[in-house]
Symmetry: C2
Subunit: 355 residues, 2 copies
């Protein structure tokens, strides 16, 4: 299992994407999102995704050079068509549009359809908070989650993210699935041969299971095994309700797909909301209040088994510092698939490794 | 335990509020919210609240006749001051303002500070969906919930609600606490002498408990017992993260209070977001898609122990039909407190009852 530094991960990702047909700008935007995911510990959203992306380009699902198109617009809203470009490229443009609209009229909602996998959500809400705004994003995808009271996957893990700027404290970046667990964690347990905690998944017959293999169609473990069981929603009816809302904000509001209809494993449909803080309160006042709340919570008594109370996004900050020094270890399965792809483009990934 | 019909509940609520100083309009708005809560089964937000409200008027916390004031405004945002009027009156005006702004510019965010208890959230998002918009509201209040990794109450149950119109199906009205359970359900278990499921609460020393009394300061059970323990967040870090976001959207964004600082048990600070659907897609198209998703989910295979998959808000529709026929039974404790208050205003509540 090779360990790669940030620069090595970036060179691999960028090199492969450009070889497969991405422009310099597209390769840079997608690479930034994937490598950041590896650095913060979200490996399921890291360079592993290059395998799907390159296959997506080859099969015509991802269209490099696609035009980002605003199809309907009001002062504080926009509906946009990604024309099946790279999800990260499309979604970055949508977030920029939302920020610029909120800058003018105070708040904005931007939706995107015909969009591929946008990767880790936190990157987009971070764009908003770096513009001193509050950012919200949610996204749908392939069905993987049972409704509360059901036993068949009818909704995607329908994740959502909020980004909120702070002053001296780390910003708050919440990035959570409305399912009890992200699908990537079940897959990780499968590869490691570990059992799941009770209550996470149902098998294809709808029975509770602790065996990660029961979530997928055999044969296993291919990288893109299809889901035949179902993940449970977070907190029963609560996560189910939120997941259903996400399905509608992204699917029905874009006039495209709601979850059970998603057509490609790479499809994401996106809802973005941005709020300009200083239309409400002076920015510094807001940041001071966030700092005070964060500090008060972090200084409050710890539960048994906890040394620290973390703020959403803080675990990722800590992991990124660690992995920036230590590098990111890529499982052999992923590494072999990536080097094979690189070879097909006459590009020697092994050369990127340290001697 | 008397059982009252809708009209009787309304007459009691309206009579008592007017006797205590509310205008006709204020009494009507507050009464509609409280009686609806009783009818849909949310008794903790029903006419029980009149006890706090009348005491709030007497102590000067609730100010009948307060002016609803817009203190800062942009095309798609407004910061508003409730001047400590009735929460329901203030919040209805804020929702109307949000709807009218979204009507003009596509979407809107309206926040409210200096506001008292707004009651059941679903009523406000229902206003939005009845205007063919998507409504979102969240609210903070008294500290009751431990952060993930902590053992002291630092956040309120910080609930949130989404309202989404459908076509032929019931509208989707999600109304959930970001805590694992609403505080009213712990109180209900206390009154009934029941144990709680494991994982709901911590006692005042931070130890897990299944005894509802452990959430409160003795002596018990007064109607407004103070919280000394803590409720756990829903789904661990997920509910905690969402609760923290709610605290900031309502507290920091209004330049007022974040949770641990809330000054009165009646204080609510509010964040509202409204989206005009037909700025994105034709309304009928949207409703058809929502109907189809709802129908597909409801028709999907049921989990063991479930005969039906409910859509958020559907349990309330069913309960309202039932209670509209059967009437609402008011516990003796509540009834005695209410009749006592009525008597103090020379108003005989017993006369409202059927012979």
């Amino acid at each position: 299992m090779p360990t790669l530094r940030r620069e090595q991960l970036s060179a691999l990702s960028s090199g492969l994407l450009k070889a497969a047909g991405a422009s310099d700008e597209e390769a840079e935007i997608v690479t930034r999102n994937l490598v950041k995911a590896n650095l913060v510990g979200a490996d399921s959203h890291g360079i592993l995704q290059l395998i799907s992306y390159v296959n997506g380009i080859r099969s015509g699902v991802i269209k490099p050079g696609a035009r980002f198109e605003v199809t309907k617009e009001s002062p504080s809203t926009a509906l946009t068509n990604g024309n099946w470009g790279f999800g990260q490229v499309v979604c970055s443009k949508a977030m920029k549009l939302a920020i610029s609209k909120a800058q003018k009229v105070g708040s904005a909602v931007v939706c995107v359809f015909n969009c591929n996998h946008i990767g880790r959500l936190a990157d987009y809400t971070q764009m908003a908070l770096e513009s001193d705004m509050i950012g919200f994003i949610c996204v749908n995808g392939d069905s993987a989650v049972a409704p509360y009271g059901g036993k068949k996957a009818m909704l995607s893990t329908n994740p959502l993210s909020y980004g909120i700027p702070a002053g001296k404290e780390n910003p708050i970046i919440l990035d959570i699935a409305t399912a009890i667990v992200a699908e990537g964690k079940v897959r990780a347990a499968l590869y490691k041969g570990e059992k799941l905690p009770p209550g996470w998944i149902l098998d294809s017959s709808g029975k509770p299971s602790t065996s990660p293999a029961d979530l997928y169609q055999p044969p296993l473990p291919p990288a893109q095994a299809k889901i035949s069981g179902a993940i449970q929603p977070a907190a029963g009816h609560k996560g189910y309700g939120l997941g259903l809302v996400v399905a509608i904000l992204t699917g029905a509001l874009t006039g495209t797909l709601c979850d059970p209809e998603i057509i490609s494993g790479l499809t994401n449909t996106v809802y973005i909301n941005v709020i300009k803080i200083d239309e409400f309160v002076a920015l510094q006042d807001f940041k001071n209040r966030v700092d005070r709340l964060v500090r008060t919570i972090k200084d409050s008594p710890k539960a048994e088994g906890f040394n620290e109370i973390l703020i959403p996004g803080e675990a990722e900050v800590i992991e990124e510092e660690k992995r920036t020094k230590s590098g990111v270890t890529i499982p052999d399965f992923t590494w072999n698939a990536l080097t094979k792809l690189c070879n097909e483009y006459g590009f020697d990934a092994e050369k990127l490794l340290d001697d």
